[in-house]
Amino acid sequence: MGNYLIRRLLQTVIVIFGVTLLTFFSLHLAGDPTLLYVSERASDAEIAETRAKLGFDKPLSRQYIDFVTNAARGDFGNSLRTRTPAFDLVMERLPATIELTLFAMFVAIVFAVPIGILAAMNRGTALDGGVMLFAMFGQSMPSFWLGIMLILIVGLRLGWLPISGHVPVLQPLFEGHFMVAFENIPGAINHLILPGVTLATFSLARNARLIRSSMLEVLSQDYITTAKAKGLRTWTVVGRHAFRNALIPFITIVGLEFGFLLSGVVVIETVFSWPGVGRLVFNSINQRDIPVVQSAVIFFSLLFVLLNLLVDLVYTTLDPRIRLS
């Protein structure tokens, strides 16, 4: 166990190192961003001065080494645009993105399980067909389109839910304002529903399909048949035996799911004017704000890798047959 953890952590270090390398060089391939950070009327001397100040005059290898050594100490440099620490900019927007992603994950998983089980239990019926059809449609809509449609229909026409905007919960929580955080929860959920559902739709559809086929597989196994033959009630069988085993393949994707939903937030945050990291990173890439992009990418890669490590650990507790090796 200990060895396994050490090896996984070592791998994590290698992966993060690779991510820094990839980020750094793909951003610098675009050339020197200095021109974006001088005034329109700047002279050549002023440009050169700014370039030196930003450190872009050094050889690329040198810049990379500087960046890695600083990053290892937790210093990701200042944003070129706002001149404030890049990591702080990411962290300020992180709670909003985490809220959105967790909510979407919740929707994608919590709703998928009963839907999938119901479909599996009623295999071949109209209900099953309907679920499969929903799953197919859910997997064939571009999210920006679905988002705008939901805004226009649910938000504007029906007026059921807020159209855009964000009510913070995690932010006051981190700042220690527990009362504020709890007060905000109803409003926050209200504001989360449209963007969250938009973000989750694809995953929800996919997960429902997965749970369904996974359940069908388990239900056809001998031990289930035996359990049924022993006279156990269907729902007992499903709850006690089938579900637990059907969950195993599902758990593995939870870790991937997080990274997967994070990828979607750029579009969702733009459509719903959600003040999260996705928009920050997208704008920063366009503005060549290299330190901000780097901090965000490294942070998310780290989060992703650790989460997957966690998932692997959970996985083994659920299925003792699997040995960590």
């Binding site: 166990m1 981190f174 700042e175």
Partner: protein, 546 residues
């Protein structure tokens, strides 16, 4: 069982560690100014203007910082103009009127402007606002140590020829410039005055997060990418603002902005796409208010030698070709269809009514264009093509820009100039190329103009090697008159020179003249507010309608 339990424990630890990591990272960023996290508008109830005297304005982009000397965008200057006062103020009609200063005097040679401040002004932290603060504002903006590149340092001081500033009395401050400039007062009116004691005591980083203003509204809170909240500062008596609070929201997606407006959750939105006008006007919640803006939209003919190896680059060096192409584009139709606006085509780079009234805008006459191109020595080839040319534009910067650019490409192609339209990313591709004068040979851009001065509008082309002379147009007649212009101080003489220069521009056009960009705002029916022509949002005079 034992084994399993131990593993469970490990999992719990890992989970806690992960959460701690997230929490730990997020915690120190808490800004200490905003002790309360106030929720933005409640989306459920429509914010009819009577329920609170909060005015909510939705813009497309967020601020980058709150540093008054570092204005990077129109979104920022809109917020800043409510937080800070300026010495003089440019009104809707283009007049320049006293604001923080009650009067000014100019020295004989036009190089020293002495402003007399109103009495009893204070900044938002209570510090009296005196001549010392005015001088500090200018010196701080100009200090290369601070490395400012925004509007004040990067444009205003440079265009002004700023030399120095000095205190001439408790309320008298003098701004010294290198040479007489006909646009000095207007430029000075773009500088946001801030107080010395506070700004001297904080670092640039802190200043950009916690501004202390000098205008009618006081800073409350900035939630990045979400909103900026200002509250009325009652001690400011120079202007009579109605709303108690201003909330500047950021909503990047046009459909979302419009939906929020129609739903009654915001009061004013910017940049309404033309195809959403009907939806807004047909709702019983809001109306579209359009104004003839001052931004000059044009297609530049980049005449640099770098394009000499292309047919098109070579062709547009010929003034006859540049004139011919003016006839090829149906500007009024573009305005009507793509911009939902009846526009008159620009006849020069100067906004009416400061332009030369004798110049007729080029009409849409494709046959004339073809005839002139034939005469210029560019007949159609066997494939119907006269020459190929590349036409570049940035994406998403101007009203319906992609459609306008594609339409212009079609018009040019129709007269035999095979136009290859390239849409580039605005900030990372187009702007750098534009600044290095590498863009084109045809490019689409709009430069901000003014309601108050022809010379301000012409300043883009003030010197043959100037940074903003993107086309590197070299007409000696034009540039020699520019020198005369700075020597002529009487208004009539200036006007005569301007008219002459605009005629030169008209006959040897470095630009394919298009239109002055209209600006469309969506305004809630509960708010009485009229937009200005110069893209500046001023909601101080806005009032609720009951």
């Amino acid at each position: 069982m034992h084994y399993l339990a131990r593993r469970n424990w490990l999992v719990v630890c890992a989970l806690i560690a992960l959460l701690a990591l997230m929490a730990g990272c997020a915690a120190p960023t808490a800004s200490d100014t905003s002790s309360e996290t106030s929720a933005p508008t409640d989306g459920e109830t429509s914010a009819d203007s009577s329920d609170a005297t909060r005015l909510i304005i939705a813009q497309t982009v967020d601020l980058e910082g709150l540093e008054p000397s570092e204005v990077n965008s129109r979104a920022e200057s809109n917020v800043f103009a409510h937080m800070y006062g300026t010495l003089y103020e440019i009104t809707d009609s283009g007049a320049i009127e006293p604001y923080l200063a009650q009067a000014y005097q100019v020295s004989e040679d036009g190089t020293e402007y002495t402003f007399t401040l109103n009495e009893g002004l204070t900044c938002h932290d209570g510090e009296p606002l005196t001549a010392e603060d005015v001088v500090y504002t200018f010196q701080r903006a100009a200090d290369p140590e601070n490395g400012f590149t925004g509007n004040t340092a990067g444009f205003v001081l440079d265009a002004l020829g700023y030399a120095d500033a000095r205190v001439d009395g408790d309320l008298d401050a003098t701004i010294v410039i290198n040479a007489y400039s006909p646009i000095a007062l207007g430029l000075i009116s773009e500088v946001y005055i801030h107080c010395k004691d506070y700004y001297e005591s904080v670092s640039l980083e802190d200043a950009a997060q916690n501004p202390v203003g000098s205008g009618p509204y006081k800073f409350v809170e900035w939630v990045k990418d979400d909103y900026t909240l200002l509250e009325k500062w009652d001690e400011f008596t120079l202007r009579d603002a109605t709303y108690d609070e201003l909330e500047w929201r950021v909503i990047p997606e046009a459909s979302t902005r419009t939906a929020e407006l129609i739903a009654g959750n915001v009061d004013i939105i910017t940049n309404v796409p033309p195809d959403q006008h009907t939806a807004i006007n047909n709702s019983d919640a809001a109306t579209v208010a359009g104004v003839a803006g001052t931004r000059r939209m044009y297609v530049g003919f980049n005449q640099r030698d770098i394009f000499d190896d292309t047919e098109g680059g070579l062709a547009i060096k010929d003034p006859a070709v540049r004139v011919a192409l003016q006839y090829a584009v149906d500007v009024p139709t573009i305005c009507q269809t793509l911009l939902a606006f009846d526009c008159e085509r620009a006849s020069s780079m100067v906004n009416p009514p400061n332009d030369n009234p004798n110049l007729e805008p080029y009409p849409y006459d494709p046959e004339m264009a073809e005839q002139l191109l034939d005469e210029a020595g560019y007949p159609r080839g066997d494939d119907g093509v006269r020459f190929d040319i590349t036409f570049q534009a940035g994406r998403g910067r101007y009203l319906n820009d992609e459609a306008v650019v594609l339409a212009i490409g079609q018009y040019l192609t129709d007269v035999g100039v095979n136009t290859n339209v390239e849409i580039l990313d605005w900030s990372s591709e187009f702007v750098p190329a534009l600044r290095q004068h590498d863009v084109g040979p045809l490019y689409f851009v709009g430069t901000g103009g003014s309601t108050w001065s022809a010379v301000y509008d012409m300043a883009d082309l003030s010197e043959p090697t100037g940074a903003t002379n993107y086309t590197e147009w070299q007409n000696p007649e034009w540039f020699s008159r520019w020198a005369q212009l700075s020597e002529t101080q009487d208004a009539d003489g200036q006007k005569a020179l301007v008219d002459e220069m605009l005629e030169i521009f008209y006959n040897d056009p470095p630009w394919l003249l298009l239109y002055f960009q209209p600006d469309f705002y969506g305004v809630s029916d509960g708010v009485d507010w009229t937009p200005r022509r110069d893209e500046q949002i001023n909601v101080v005079p806005a009032k609720p309608i009951n």
